[in-house]
Amino acid sequence: MLSTVGRRVRLALTALVAVLAVSGTLYGQDDHFPFAPFRMFATRTAPDGPVRVVELRGRTAGAAAEGTLSMASFGLRRAELEGQLGRLRSPGMLGELVRAREALRDELPRVDVLRLVEVEYLLDDGRQVGRRETTVAEWRR
């Protein structure tokens, strides 16, 4: 049996967390994690709108052509890059990412050119009908 105090404290904590979780979902933002809204895949993609995907392309030492580089090698996840696209528009920021990659994965070939690319898949009634690419920022060693 729990003591009266033990019960009351637990009851109060339960109520507090419940209130925080519900109000976080109704009024909060990502910033309020762990009481942020549970918003993975919560935004609606228009069936006739574009789907945007960010990629990092680059030319590494010894490579003949440019290729897609894994986001993980830069210590970030794609959604994190997309969440901070504004800051990453400056080439200097891309240079910092390259340095992060060198600190994190020094066994990987050196990056000489890095491009942040936004790929747009065009949808029509939920079906993919086209694709276009824009370079958001570019950095050269």
Binding site: L2, A18, H32, F41, T45, L76, A79, Q84
Partner: protein, 291 residues
């Protein structure tokens, strides 16, 4: 008051003991293997650090190469020792605090996940149960509250995910192309063919909204709960196969709905029976070779 006694309905201590073992053993797996990207934030430029509200409130320092690595070692060691059931309050408390900071490191770089809520609740409430041994079938209120909290957090994750869809995606969320977007971004050979069948993806979106809204049925108990849990495991595995996303910490919390205390004895029985069978066959061989 009925809802209060429901919240404290006694449950076997052995169930908490089993859940505790799984949860603390999962922590090193999570930190070192399945979400190893968190540690990579140690080397990300400080300018990309966007502290969460809780980080600013508590004035937490920006994660750096040293602090992240020290926290990682402490967390893994504390969890491994806590998994043995030793000092459940002290070590459990340490794991809860360290893991909470680990999550601040994880979510402070522009993307917040929502597969952690129930697991965070689990880590936070586990220490309150105190000592609980695997074979202890005694039911008490402290264990009951721990399990109920985790169950409520699991239900909240689904139910509030539906609410978030209405808030951010609108009531017409289900008629959109959100799953098409998910597959375009992170598809696989299993999911990609679905892009050609948009109506099926819309049907799946209706299905998702439906089961999220029905998630309180998890609390009904008995067969309803068991089938619902089974369905949820299947759903999360299918998502993993299709778009490579799996809510592993959430799945650990989902175990709070199951009679976990029956698993260890069943495994022990199976091992014993197998051992018995092995002895029997060894004896049999001996008999044969002796004849």
């Amino acid at each position: 008051m009925a809802p209060v006694s429901w919240l404290f309905a006694a449950q076997p201590r052995a169930r908490v003991a089993a859940l505790r073992t799984v949860a603390y053993l999962f922590v090193p797996v999570d930190v070192l293997l399945t979400t190893a990207w968190v540690a990579d934030h140690a080397d990300v430029p400080g300018t990309l650090y966007q502290p969460l509200y809780v980080g600013r409130l508590l004035d937490l320092p920006a994660p750096g190469p040293v602090s992240v690595r020290v926290a990682m070692v402490l967390l893994v060691v504390a969890a491994a020792v806590a998994a043995t059931g030793r000092s459940p309050r002290l070590l459990g408390g340490a794991v809860a605090v360290l893991y909470a900071w680990w999550m601040v490191v994880a979510m402070s770089y522009g993307k917040v996940d929502h597969d952690r809520f129930a697991f965070l609740v689990l880590l936070a409430v586990l220490p309150t149960a105190g000592p609980a041994r695997p074979g202890d079938r005694t039911a008490d209120e402290a264990s009951g509250w721990v399990l109920r909290c985790v169950q409520l957090a699991v239900v909240a994750t689904y139910l509030l995910a539906a609410v978030a869809k209405f808030r951010f995606g609108g009531l017409e969320w289900a008629t959109g192309a959100t799953l098409s977007r998910a597959i375009l971004r992170r598809g696989s050979f299993l999911a990609d063919p679905l892009l050609d069948v948009p109506w099926l993806l819309v049907a799946m979106q209706w299905g998702i909204i439906a089961f999220e809204l029905l998630s309180p049925l998890l609390l009904v108990g008995g067969r309803v709960t068991r089938w619902f849990v089974l369905f949820l495991f299947a759903f999360h595995l299918a998502s993993f196969a299709g778009i490579g996303i799996i809510f592993l910490p959430h799945l650990v919390a989902l175990l709070a709905f199951l009679p976990l205390e029956r698993v260890a004895p069943a495994v022990a029985r199976a091992v014993r029976d197998r051992a018995g069978w092995a002895n029997w066959s060894i004896r049999g061989i001996r008999l044969r070779s002796g004849s």
